[in-house]
């Protein structure tokens, strides 16, 4: 076998990409020379081995920074630029990974730990007070220019713990066996590693993608299938009641679906699609194959909901294309004069459920009014006087359990829901959004939608169309495994929890994030621990696949190391998700209180454990450099729509924001969604807004702190929160810049309110004469949207210093460093924290 596998022979095992570049040179060579097999704690003498390893570890990787660890003093303005820094690198001991490959370590966009050095004991973890959890985005879409996830040939798993083989597995016995990195069991290496059974030729095992990449796809064999892979199925439930017709929703919806028909995943021509229009009755649409004439069938008996026809309601997208197109183009006209009030959403869902039977699929409910007919009907709860009071938390709880029960039932039948709420009418979102929350779906909210407002319509069409075009995963389950001693305690996100380590997802939306709380149950002895997420799903093109992502994180006994390797963005993301979960389960105030208390605890723990002034009063708060933005991010969470106090946030808006916080991955959820980006447009650096010569990416200007203090009266600023963007014009904004930006004479002629950002260069690659600023800002805005995975098309609000107060208020709410009615300013927040710490009340 020597011909196939030479342990320690140059090509494969050693040298790790992640050895810190500034590691002391003398420690490295001896370490690197060790063959990989000796890295494995052998059964005979495990303890000594691990100790030795720890020593080396502290010499070269984790410990060496101790002198270099910097503390940041919390005072003045928060160093907001640190948000754009990459998360702290995980410093793994050399030899953790068996193949030197740039893809062997899990990218933070797929899986991210809040702590990049994990305390060995629960005691140590408790001492730091830091939240320990993972943020997993298993179904991350590869971005433009990124290689697709590699596909591994055959599935190799540990006999005992069923872990999939991964780059962190070690080969022993001269390569005949592999040691599972989770449970240390020695497994036989299958023959297919070194020998291709089909072509009958020797193979190089190091070329296997599952040994060189931390994120791989497997094609599942028959044993992983309960039935043939299902096709993508979409059922649209469209509200055509008076409330909806009034704002022109049916027409825009039909137009959007019509223009997206080519984008809906339909690779093998199996995709099915159905439409149910609801007012006080159900309108089904039947298209006979080969016919272009859709027939409308109306059912208004909801005692026992039935389907008006056994066939031809669920239409094959390819075969009935003509009929579907004719239906959608006539849809608006059919209901233009509809004055029926009432919304039979619940019977429609029951009917859709019947239609999908055991096939499964996705139900997209596009609603402009609350469900008022049938079994799960809701009563409108007046919001007005309860907002901002403790009674508000009751409004956030579902009115009845019908929706949750139905969602659980649908999960079993692989049916998922998306809830799209359109218009200003209160929707009882708190109740209806349960449908999406427990089936892995999404919630969309367009409160200011009107068919006549072009920017709003553009945004709606862009976002819904992108959502329909997404390559969703179907009938999926997500299982998480971790090294011995670690336990998954609680999950946050949109899913149905089937058992403690198994999430059921009837449909997986790309880029949805799932957060999990991890506990240290037993003392960890290994220098590195592992987390593996396996997502078994059916792709939208009919393949059953398993996506496996493995994350390796080093452990430590040193409390300094834990603090200085914490990832503040991940922590803020986890904390915000936990807070939202808490607000939904208990009370909003509790959630806010818990969030503040956690910050206090962390700062207090750091003060007592890691600084000289461990006792007694301090004048200045300190945090490790890696956590310096934590108070600022927590403050931003407190002021975000999802948790903000005050009486001006409608329940629907809050529910939609909460849902986004729960599902967004950390790199979107924390910034720009919670902490927005602010740029000065009147003093752009020379390169900003043009492509970088090396990377080809648009260069962004330096970002500013989120405070009204930075807004100069002669300036023009851009505030981008992913979902919305604002152009702020000072009172004395320079007229030449106003002209170059929006083709306006001066600031007074610029209209207040929502605008479509004009492209004055006519889509050309070079700026038009005199409109250079417009060109550059347009590119910056497009680039910012791309950074958000194209999820949103932000509406642009024009806010003038002396303009519309409502928009100014909206903007001010996003300037989170300033004081407002809901929460203190950053400085006040810090001094509150300092007072409490000095009093020792944490």
């Amino acid at each position: 076998q020597g011909g196939f596998f030479v342990p320690g022979a140059g090509q494969a095992p050693m040298s790790q990409a992640q050895v810190p570049s500034n590691a002391p040179g003398h420690a490295a060579p001896g370490y690197l020379a060790a063959p990989p097999m000796s890295m494995a704690p052998q059964p005979g003498y495990p303890a000594q081995q691990v100790d030795g390893l720890t020593q080396q570890l502290s010499q070269m990787g984790l410990g060496q920074g101790q002198q270099e660890y910097q503390n940041a003093v919390l005072s003045g303005r928060p160093p907001i630029a640190a948000l754009d820094e990459a998360p702290p690198a995980t410093r793994l001991p050399a030899g953790t990974v068996c193949v030197p490959s740039p893809h062997a370590l899990c990218p933070p966009h797929v899986k991210r730990s809040t702590l990049n050095a994990i305390p060995r004991t629960d005691k140590l973890l408790k001492k730091t007070k830091l939240p320990f959890g993972l943020l997993i985005t298993p179904f991350k879409e590869p971005e433009a220019g990124e290689a697709p996830v590699p596909v591994a040939p055959d599935i190799v798993r540990c006999r005992r713990c069923r872990t999939y083989i991964n780059p962190c597995a070690q080969f022993v016995d001269g390569g005949r066996r592999w040691r599972c990195n989770m449970c240390n069991l020695h497994n036989d290496v299958p023959m297919s590693f070194d020998f291709d059974l089909v072509s009958r030729e020797p193979k190089n095992r190091w070329e296997r993608p599952d040994l060189s990449c931390s994120v791989v796809d497997y094609i599942a064999p028959v044993e992983y299938m309960a039935r043939p892979p299902m096709p993508p199925v979409y059922v649209f439930i469209i509200d055509v009641s008076y409330a909806s017709v009034q704002i022109g929703a049916p027409g825009v919806i039909a137009q959007t679906i019509l223009s997206s028909l080519d984008r809906i995943p339909n690779v093998d021509g199996r995709t099915k699609i159905a439409f149910i229009a609801v007012d006080a009755a159900l309108h089904f649409f039947q298209v006979r194959p080969g016919s272009a004439e859709p027939q409308q069938l109306v059912v208004s008996d909801f005692e026992d909901v039935f389907l008006p026809s056994p066939t031809d309601l669920l239409l094959n997208l390819s075969e009935c294309r003509e009929g579907i197109e004719s239906l959608l183009s006539r849809f608006e006209g059919m209901f233009q004069t509809n004055h029926s009030v009432g919304n039979a959403l619940c019977p429609a869902i029951q009917a859709a459920r019947k239609m999908l039977g055991n096939l499964g699929g996705k139900i997209i409910a596009l609603q402009a009014s609350p469900p008022t007919v049938g079994e799960g009907k809701v009563e409108l709860r007046p919001e007005g006087k309860d907002l901002g009071t403790p009674r508000e938390s009751d409004l956030l709880r579902p009115q009845n359990s019908w929706y949750k029960t139905l969602a659980a039932d649908c999960t079993r039948a692989q049916v998922a829901f998306d809830v799209v709420s359109i218009g200003q009418q209160p929707m009882e979102m708190a109740t209806v959004a349960c449908l999406a929350r427990y089936t892995g779906g999404s919630v969309f909210h367009y409160p200011s939608f009107m068919a006549a407002r072009k920017p709003e319509v553009d945004r709606f069409m862009y976002e819904l169309s992108n959502h329909l075009a997404a390559n969703i995963g179907l009938e999926a389950v997500l299982r998480l495994r971790a090294s011995k001693g670690l336990r998954m305690a609680a999950y946050y996100g949109n899913f149905f929890l089937r058992s403690l380590d198994l999430l059921s997802l009837p449909s997986v939306t790309p880029n949805h994030c799932y957060a999990v709380d991890v506990e240290v149950e037993e003392t960890l002895t290994a220098p590195v621990v592992y987390f593996q997420a396996a997502l078994l799903h059916t792709t939208s093109y009919g393949e059953r696949r398993i996506r496996v992502a493995t994350l390796a994180v080093p452990t430590t006994e040193n409390i300094h190391t834990v603090f200085h390797h914490a990832d503040q963005v991940a922590i803020a993301s986890l904390l915000s998700k936990k807070a939202v979960d808490r607000a939904l389960a208990a009370k909003l105030e509790d959630a806010r209180e818990a969030l503040q208390h956690k910050t206090l605890e962390i700062i207090g723990a750091f003060k007592t454990e890691c600084t000289q002034s461990s006792s007694g009063a301090t004048t200045q708060l300190q945090l490790p450099r890696s956590l310096q933005l934590l108070p600022q991010l927590v403050l931003a969470c407190l002021k975000h729509t999802s948790l903000r106090s005050g009486n001006n946030i409608p329940v629907a808006a809050r529910m939609a924001a909460m849902n986004l916080v729960l599902t967004l991955p950390p790199e979107l959820g924390v910034q720009p969604y919670i902490a927005a980006r602010l740029y000065a447009l009147h003093e752009l650096p020379e390169q900003a807004g043009y492509s970088d010569a090396q990377t080809g990416m648009t260069v962004l200007p330096p970002r500013l702190g989120l405070s009204a203090e930075v807004l100069a009266p002669h300036g023009i600023y851009l505030l981008h929160s992913g979902h919305d963007s604002f152009l702020w014009f000072g009172r004395n904004a320079r007229p030449d810049l106003c002209h170059a930006l929006l083709n306006a004479q001066d600031v007074s002629t610029i209209p207040n309110g929502v605008i479509s950002f004009p492209d004055l260069s006519g889509g050309a690659d070079t700026p038009a004469q005199g409109f250079e600023l417009n060109f550059r800002v347009g590119r910056i805005m497009r680039h910012l949207s791309e950074l958000c995975y194209g999820l949103w098309k932000p509406v642009t609000f024009v806010a003038k210093e002396d303009g519309e107060p409502v928009i100014r208020l909206m903007l001010q709410q996003r300037l989170v460093e300033d004081m407002d009615t809901s929460a203190p300013s950053y400085q006040q927040f810090l001094s509150q924290l300092r007072d409490k710490i000095n009093r020792g009340s944490f």
Partner: protein, 217 residues
């Protein structure tokens, strides 16, 4: 009517395509589908090319063609002739579309699931056995279905096994008895020798003595 259709490769029983059964059928048929899988495991190139298997309230009809097995689960009332004409139609279309790719060793399960669309379409044509088109098909003497072997699922799955055991038992019995006959022959000879051997020898000696004496005298 046709309840469900599965297409599999004969060589290793790998499912290639199947119909998505949207009604309650899925749960009702679960047991029969696993029986179908058991049948795929038993099939080989020498198997009967057309066969109907009775199981509970259903018939499982299958057809082997070019290394691919087409199987459908039908109600008992559904005419056999129609079922096989349905399978014939599927096999023709499947062979035309994917015939060349079936033998690829690296095929994933349900690789040709897109054939589902055609299955659904064909199934609808055969849905009602009384439509004019289907009646014509029934009357046309397409193929003599009476020749097609009918088996019982129980036989196939359970008694099939015991018959095998029985035949191996009887084979062994024959071998053993053969041996027994040989042995017993040998034993009888031995017994004869021990019983009459000495007497015979004496008789011979006596005879010789008498003979010698008579010759001398």
């Amino acid at each position: 009517m046709v309840k469900s259709t599965i297409i599999a490769r004969v060589a290793d029983g790998l499912p290639l395509a199947a119909s998505m059964d949207d009604e309650q059928a899925e749960s009702e048929l679960a047991g029969y589908k696993s029986q179908a899988k058991a049948i795929f495991k038993k099939l080989n190139a020498q198997s009967e090319t057309r066969c109907s298997i009775e199981s509970g309230p259903y018939y499982l009809h299958y057809l082997l063609d070019q290394g691919v097995c087409y199987l459908c689960i039908c109600d008992k009332q559904f005419p056999r002739k129609l079922a096989f004409s349905y399978l014939d139609e599927l096999s023709r279309e499947f062979y035309m579309s994917y015939g060349g790719e079936v033998e690829k060793p690296s095929l994933r399960p349900y690789a040709f699931i897109k054939f589902d669309t055609f299955i659904q379409k064909t199934r609808r044509i055969y849905e009602d056995s009384r439509t004019q088109q289907n009646l014509t098909k029934l009357n046309e003497d397409l193929r003599d279905v009476t020749q097609i072997m009918t088996k019982n699922m129980e036989d196939l799955l359970w008694r099939g096994g015991s018959l095998d055991r029985m035949s191996s038992l009887s084979d062994r019995l024959r071998d053993e008895s053969e041996k027994y006959r040989k042995d017993s022959k040998r034993l009888r000879l031995q017994a004869l020798i021990t019983k009459y051997g000495i007497v015979a020898i004496f008789a011979v000696i006596l005879f010789l003595v008498f003979y010698v004496v008579l010759r001398i005298f």
